[in-house]
């Protein structure tokens, strides 16, 4: 189906389907449709895209965090003057912070903003962002067969190249947990290495690495988005292992990886 030689363009036929044409244009197009089978066939083809879009997207409305959104609007300053835009903004964020303290609102978006406001510490912020990202992963995200050793090595080589690392399938392997993929993400326009694994019991987990000059730090632990995080850094990079495996086991896994990646 090539529309190049048709009298009517896809744009015109689409506008016809969408009821966006004037009566005169509609008459013109219908006259052509009656006399030209190829145009009619193209219209029939395009009209197959007429799906129940509205109904399909309806459930996403129910998925919205309505309570949090209402709360967000409810705490916006009622006396905000258009001229005092900056002050209004700060007032709003202050109100959100107050809500957090009061335990009224605990949405992660607010927490993210609070961190951005009060914790300019780059070394913890990247973990916030990664945690938000990994929290979206499900078993399905990592479905499919695991890559071969060669494919793993090739994926890792790309990370090595961008981040100045030297990873191998062995250095990043986790016992009893499947390596699913290694990919390069971006964090504030800087490369971020993400190696994703699937634990048969607790689901996705990931080892993430960024360049870092904060210096060597011993492993520490924290909880983010219902996941356990073990993080550490060496003179050149910061690491975090994040997943839903119990913290003791996470620390063991992290320690293994740490030794192998620093060797």
């Amino acid at each position: 189906m090539n529309d190049k030689h048709l009298i009517l363009s896809d744009e015109e036929l689409t506008a016809y389907i969408d009821g966006e044409l004037s009566d005169a244009e509609v008459s013109r197009i219908e006259a052509i449709l009656h006399s030209n089978e190829r145009v009619a066939a193209r219209l029939e083809f395009l009209s197959r895209s007429g799906l129940p879009f509205r109904q399909a997207f309806e459930p996403l409305l129910a998925a919205a965090p309505k309570t949090e959104l209402d709360a967000m609007l409810g705490v916006a300053p009622r006396d905000a003057k258009p001229a005092a835009a900056r002050a209004g903004r700060r007032g709003f964020l202050g109100a959100i912070a107050a809500c957090l303290v009061a335990g009224v609102v605990g949405d992660r978006a607010f927490i993210g903003i609070r961190n951005r406001m009060h914790a300019p510490d780059e070394s913890s912020e990247w973990r916030t962002v990664v945690a938000e990202y990994i929290a979206l992963y499900t078993v399905d995200t990592l479905a499919g067969p695991s890559p071969s050793d060669d494919a793993k090595a090739a994926q890792l080589a790309r990370l090595d190249d961008k981040l100045g690392l030297s990873l191998s399938p062995q250095t990043v392997s986790l016992p009893g947990i499947e390596f699913k993929r290694a990919q390069l993400l971006q964090y504030d326009d800087k490369p971020l290495a993400q190696i994703a694994y699937l634990d048969p019991e607790t689901g996705p987990l990931a080892l993430c690495i960024v360049r870092s000059d904060v210096g060597t730090k011993e492993p520490d632990v924290e909880g983010r988005h219902g996941m356990n995080v073990v993080y550490w850094s060496n003179p050149t990079h910061a690491f975090m292992l994040i997943g839903r495996i119990p913290i003791d086991r996470m620390q063991e896994l992290a320690e293994d990886v740490r030794k192998r990646t620093s060797a």
Binding site: A40, R48, P52, P65, L73, A76, R89, A109, T138
Partner: protein, 201 residues
């Protein structure tokens, strides 16, 4: 070859009747809408939060970013009450604010894959674990829309889900009507090809 060109199975637009007129004001008579106060905007925002969030999710594929987008849209709308044109649709105005925040402030930063954010399928599907047949159908439609390039996806969402006219879509996206038409035509051709490919005509 007989072709039934006048029927469009499952075609879902609310107003299939050809019309070149701008969308009518559905709720507020113009006379009453002349003076818009912050309270009006606030109440309009309250009515539209969930729809704004959904648009944010469609654009970003991320729930947390959708949260952020709604929040910043609220702030921006309340800061710019005086820029709202009395007599126009408030929801359209809010959509355009959200879209511009997305385009100019959010899209270019934070974690992202080379071609966009998370794989579309990760964030934009309905709870797979409890998939009923309706959900399966809905998810198929969502996947088809998610598979579109960003610009086409936004146009399809606004026109076919939110029911905006071409003119309104052009205004929200801040592009010429001709561009809206070509995006929708390209999107329809792509979706039609995918639907035909699956044999699900």
């Amino acid at each position: 070859m007989p072709v039934a060109y006048t029927t469009f199975p499952a075609y879902s637009r609310a107003k299939p009747k050809p019309s070149a007129k701008p969308a009518a004001l559905e709720e507020k008579p113009v006379a009453e809408a002349l003076i818009i106060s912050e309270a009006d905007i606030r109440s309009g925002l309250a009515d539209n939060l969930v729809r704004l969030w959904r648009y944010g999710l469609v654009l970003s594929h991320r729930r947390d970013i959708a949260d952020d987008l709604v929040q910043q849209t609220c702030l921006r709308a309340l800061e710019r009450v005086e820029q709202f044109e009395a007599g126009t649709r408030l929801d359209r105005w809010l959509f355009s604010i959200l879209h511009s925040i997305w385009l100019n402030e959010i899209r270019s930063r934070r974690v992202r894959l080379g071609q966009g954010f998370v794989d579309a399928d990760e964030a934009l599907v309905i709870d797979g674990a409890h998939a009923t047949e309706t959900h399966v159908m809905a998810n198929q439609v969502l996947r088809l829309v998610n598979a579109l390039p960003d610009a086409q996806r936004a146009a399809v969402f606004l026109a076919y889900v939110e029911g905006l006219s071409y003119k309104e879509v052009a205004s929200v996206l801040d592009i010429p009507i001709g561009t809206v038409m070509s995006r929708l035509a390209a999107a329809r051709a792509k979706i039609a090809a995918n639907v035909s490919g699956e044999g699900a005509t």
